[in-house]
């Protein structure tokens, strides 16, 4: 075998491997569309479930997921940006900083069911928030922190040092420099991390189990202290707990969840490429 042949074979193998990575995502999407598209119509999207969920729509679950995603954002974003700014701009190399970093790495590794138990203990029972949107948002928010902190910190560190120097040398304070130079320039990276974190939260099931999700609640939540249905948990319920559940409703629900999560991811990558193009000065 000549060197050229070896080269050709290697390139084909690498290309094939890359292609194989695309295959599962395409298959999953196509399969779910084929199986679930038939269920989707106006009633399905806007009606309350009826007849033990085998009829009607999934509106409360969609709304629940949207509300929980917002709740997660409200909990995690200010905390995460604060922590990222601290780590990137202020942290000295001392035991506290090392402890914070270790905590973030470990938070990222904790299984979501454990977050769920933590939320149950800390928010639902100890703070007496009950099984509620607020308890769920707090739990999901904490779960999302590591991703958002890490990506935000990376984005902040990627802002070239010379802009900080220039800003300070023009008489801006450190805080003004962060507010007017560093954060605006890091914003696209921060947004990307936020959206990826939120899309993960939107698809989360195990955490919701203990903290917020209602098995079957054919009405809309009235306050933050109410339970709510949510798409991922609803999907789990109708797929495993309800006898005689029409398959199209299951796949239709999966399709809606997939669309929500994928559109979040899509927004993230659009933001990223947009800004990368703007950066090319």
């Amino acid at each position: 075998m000549t060197r050229q042949q070896a080269q050709k074979i290697a390139v084909s193998a690498i290309t094939a491997a890359a292609g194989l990575v695309v295959l599962p995502i395409v298959l999953v999407i196509v399969y779910i569309i084929v199986m679930g598209a038939g269920a989707i119509n106006w009633t399905f999207l806007t009606a309350l479930p009826s007849e033990g969920m085998t009829e009607g729509g999934i509106m409360p679950a969609i709304l629940g997921t949207v509300i929980l995603t917002f709740g997660t954002a409200i909990v995690s974003i200010p905390l995460a940006i604060g922590a990222a700014v601290y780590l990137a701009e202020y942290a000295q190399d001392n035991w506290l900083t090392r402890a914070v970093r270790l905590a973030i790495v470990n938070l990222a590794g904790i299984p979501s069911i454990v977050y769920g138990l933590f939320g149950l203990g800390a928010f639902v029972l100890f703070l007496k928030l009950g099984t509620s949107i607020i308890a769920g948002s707090l739990t999901l928010g904490i779960m999302t922190l590591p991703v958002v902190i890490s990506t935000s910190e990376e984005a902040i560190l990627a802002v070239p040092q010379r802009f900080r120097m220039v800003s300070l040398s023009l008489g801006a304070t450190k805080l003004q420099t962060i507010r007017h130079q560093v954060l605006p320039q890091a914003l696209p990276g921060i947004l990307t991390g936020m959206i990826l974190g939120l899309s993960r939260a939107a698809g989360e099931t195990a955490t919701l189990l203990f903290t917020v999700a209602a098995f079957y609640l054919p009405r809309l939540p009235q306050s933050l202290f109410d339970q709510t249905m949510a798409l991922p948990y609803h999907l789990y319920v109708i797929a495993t707990q309800v006898p005689n559940m029409p398959l199209t409703i299951q796949y239709g629900t999966a399709l809606i969840l997939l669309l929500i999560v994928l559109s979040l991811t899509l927004v993230a990558s659009v933001v990223r490429t947009r800004v990368r193009r703007r950066r090319e000065w």
Binding site: R162, F163, M165, V166, S167, L168, S169, L170, G171, A172, T173, Q176, H180, Q181, P184, Q185, W281
Partner: protein, 256 residues
């Protein structure tokens, strides 16, 4: 002219050590009179940039560094607790070697320092924009596109914008660290020419690009070597008739 006899800036026994114990400046004593171009020159690593960064305390940002001695601006110690660093940096303003416009328009760049200091009066801001651009010899080239991105300017224009951005603060002292390093000869000449105008209103301390440039722009010059001030004096003495042998061999190009 007021204060003509008092130095604008005076250094007394200034020593500066980086965290790794590099002694970048050793017992520097130096007076800089107002309204002149004062040139700090010498071979690489002689401590010129370190000295400039000390004068508006950008050196505060280098962790673990140690300063001793006294630096005074108009007779006031710049390290005294009464001095607010942000205010000091508006009075002693730095232009870096690499032109660094901030993201945003030309106008936003020019007003950045003033806005951070709390200025909001649009008339005053407009006036400063025009004034500083005229002084930096950039007004004619950009007056019709103040709202365009500053990044779209040429390198030479960007550097003059950076000078104008400092001037908009109406500082007392302008620190120029090799401001023509990346510029073509024509832009270099424009920047050098503007210095003659600028020194009427400001005190300029500049690290030049070369000995030739030092000779062209200096009123007074200081020769530095390995963190020490070898000698300083009026331009003609330093460049035509230096006292020290090492200064002479450096200005005649025999080393460095």
């Amino acid at each position: 002219m007021p204060e003509q006899n008092h130095p604008k800036i005076s250094l007394l026994d200034v020593t500066f050590r980086y965290a790794d114990e590099t002694e970048a400046l050793r017992k520097i004593t130096l007076d800089i009179a107002p309204n002149q171009v004062y040139v700090l020159f010498g071979p690489s690593r002689s401590g010129k940039s370190t000295l400039l960064r000390l004068l508006n305390r950008l050196s505060d940002l280098t962790e673990g560094a140690q300063v001793s001695g006294r630096i005074a601006l108009n007779g006031q110690d710049i390290f005294s607790p009464a001095v607010r660093v942000a205010a000091l940096r508006r009075r002693v303003s730095m232009v870096f070697a690499i032109p660094t416009p901030l993201p945003g328009s030309i106008r936003e760049n020019l007003t950045y320092g003033l806005r951070m200091a709390g200025a909001t009066d649009p008339l005053m801001l407009e006036e400063r924009i025009q004034q500083s651009l005229v002084q930096a010899a950039l007004w004619d080239e950009v007056k019709d596109r103040l709202d365009h991105s500053a990044m779209a300017l040429s390198g030479g224009q960007q550097q003059r914008l950076c000078i104008a951005r400092s001037l908009a603060l109406q500082p007392e002292v302008l620190l120029l660290d090799n401001p023509t390093s990346g510029l073509d000869p024509l832009s270099t000449a424009t920047v050098e020419d503007s210095l003659y105008e600028l020194k009427r209103s400001y005190t300029i301390i500049m690290v030049p690009h070369s000995v030739q440039q030092a000779g062209r722009v200096a009123d007074r010059a200081a020769f530095m070597l390995d963190g020490e001030l070898i000698e300083e004096g009026p331009r003609d003495r330093i460049f035509i008739n230096p006292t020290h042998e090492r200064t002479e061999s450096y200005v005649t190009g025999r080393f460095g």
